[in-house]
């Protein structure tokens, strides 16, 4: 009886795992199919290397460099803001904050994670955007910078929660061992706890950055959506995700424009895959 139960559970878990792989493969195949048929009529080099995104002009131009740069600006800047802040917050919660503050902070941060991105985008649009415009004296506050601030904010809960888990599971004995050698609390955190928690922290960063790369609604509302190569982070930009979301509704199914959006999806997929793969390799090295 127990054997049978074990057998069933084992198969079930196996099936779930396989299904996840199959779904990802199917999504990839679907993107590939639409993308490839697009590249049949439009040169991939012109697509990835083209500066102009004029999908409705005649003939249409589908150059996504400005979109890639837009995504890059927003993502990198958001990561630069969210990673140090997130890891520091996690360290503070796990190691420094007194019990009551720890509980308060954790609850607040988990609540933050539950706010839908449209709401964050809306709040950003009415509060942050005018603020950025005034504070920096810009023609418009709709910019890569505003988007990155908001996205960094959205990535924080993921980074903090998972990093905090990783930091908390560092064996107490490591800490004690270092303290007993006369290390200060800060030295112990910096030299022992952070390195030991690094794999988990990297995982947290990947998930957080993953959310930033994939985020659509908030960026669409805050970044200004100008499909041109930005001169600085304070210029309006348009990201790949926002392009897909904004234009998908206006395209005719099967048209070159429609297929071009799928091709953007394919590029996104590949980028995300490369980022994850790199992180994974790095993680495996760190674990060794």
């Amino acid at each position: 009886m127990k054997r049978l139960f074990d057998w069933i559970i084992e198969r079930f878990i196996f099936l779930c795992g396989i299904l996840a792989v199959i779904f990802v493969a199917l999504i990839f195949l679907f993107l590939l199919r639409e993308g490839v048929s697009f590249f049949g009529s439009y040169s991939p080099i012109k697509f990835v290397g083209g500066i102009y995104w004029y999908p409705t002009s005649d003939p249409p131009q589908f150059g996504i460099i400005s979109l890639i740069v837009g995504s890059l600006f927003v993502t990198v800047l958001a990561a630069c803001l969210a990673i140090p802040l997130g890891v520091a917050t996690a360290l503070f919660i796990a190691e420094i904050a007194p019990r009551w503050l720890k509980d308060v902070l954790k609850t607040v941060i988990e609540l933050l994670a539950a706010i839908p991105s449209v709401v964050i985008g809306f709040i950003g649009m009415v509060t942050l955007v005018p603020l950025v415009r005034q504070a920096l004296n810009l023609p418009t506050g709709l910019s890569a910078f505003s988007g990155a601030l908001m996205l960094g904010f959205m990535a924080l809960p993921t980074i903090v929660t998972i990093s905090e888990d990783a930091i908390r599971t560092v064996p107490w004995s490591y800490k004690e061992g270092a303290i007993a050698l006369g290390a200060t609390r800060w030295q112990t955190m910096y030299r022992i706890i952070l390195p030991a928690a690094l794999p988990g922290i990297l995982g947290a960063v990947m998930l957080g950055v993953g959310r930033v790369i994939g985020e659509t609604m908030a960026v669409m509302m805050i970044t200004g959506n100008a499909a041109h190569i930005p001169g600085s982070v304070f210029d309006p930009v348009r990201t790949m995700t926002a392009t897909i979301a904004a234009e998908m509704g206006e395209t005719v199914r099967g048209s070159p424009h429609y297929e071009a959006l799928f091709a953007i999806g394919l590029v996104l997929f590949v980028i995300t895959f490369i980022v994850n793969f790199t992180a994974d390799t790095f993680l495996r090295k760190a674990r060794r």
Binding site: S173, Y174, E176, G177, A180, L181, G182, A183, T184
Partner: protein, 249 residues
């Protein structure tokens, strides 16, 4: 006899649970003081009070004084104290880094830089912990790959590298086989020339083999302290006799 550490009416609690009750004893310079007693008798609480490691426990409270060379340790900078009073734990827990980095960890934190001087310190510590011959070709291996006995001596080397005056051992051989145990004991006896040591052990035979004096703890009280030849043969207290003859505990 120089009294290296002097403990006076030391009492401590976790929350409101009494763990040690008015302990008064002295640790002489260059001796190995053994501490024996059944589980929960307060042995660990006692030695962790000597390097203020209990400070990490927020529920810990204490009364009474501990003097190191006549100075109140609870009035000292805790990091400076722990540099002078090192500790080897029950579980041989190496830090997750190479053998070399483990030993160099303390000196580095205390501002010792310079490859040559570090190399010397590491070698000296490993030699003193009887680990140099086994480790000299494996310095860059991860310390987590060593055997339990090797890790325990590595922890000792790590402690020695800080050049403490006192070393505390909390059941250092509880997870080790007899040969590794013998090695650790031998090392301790060699270190006596230079260091003052306190050895908590569950193993009565070990206490009689290595300690110069042995203290018997029971329920947070110091029952008796004496040289092993008297404590184990003609104890003054009935409870000590019961314990060392194996009638309880």
């Amino acid at each position: 006899m120089v009294e290296k550490i002097k403990v006076e009416r030391f009492t401590c609690w976790y929350y409101d649970v009494l763990a040690l009750q008015a302990i008064t004893l002295a640790v002489h310079e260059h001796e190995i003081l053994g501490i024996i007693g059944p589980a929960n008798s307060g042995k660990t609480s006692f030695i962790r009070s000597l390097n203020r490691l209990n400070d990490l426990n927020l529920t810990f409270r204490k009364q009474g004084t501990v003097l190191l060379d006549g100075k109140d340790i609870y009035a000292m900078n805790p990091e400076a104290l722990r540099r002078r009073v090192g500790m080897v734990f029950a579980m041989p827990l190496s830090l997750p880094m190479s053998v070399y980095d483990n030993v160099a960890y303390g000196p580095r934190r205390h501002g010792r830089r310079g490859k040559k001087r570090l190399d010397e310190t590491v070698e000296k510590a490993l030699v003193a912990a009887s680990l140099w011959d086994e480790m000299k070709d494996r310095l860059s291996d991860s310390a987590l790959k060593l055997s339990g006995g090797q890790q325990q001596r590595l922890c000792l080397a790590r402690t020695l590298a800080v050049e403490p005056e006192v070393i505390l051992f909390d059941e250092p051989c509880s997870g080790l086989d007899p040969i590794s145990t013998a090695k650790v004991e031998e090392t301790m006896l060699e270190l006596k020339q230079k260091y003052t040591m306190v050895l908590v052990t569950n193993n009565i035979k070990q206490a009689s083999r290595v300690s110069d004096r042995t203290a018997f703890f029971l329920s947070g009280e110091l029952v008796e302290i004496d040289v092993p030849s008297r404590l184990f043969v003609t104890p003054r207290d009935k409870r000590t006799e019961d314990y060392v003859t194996g009638r309880f505990g």
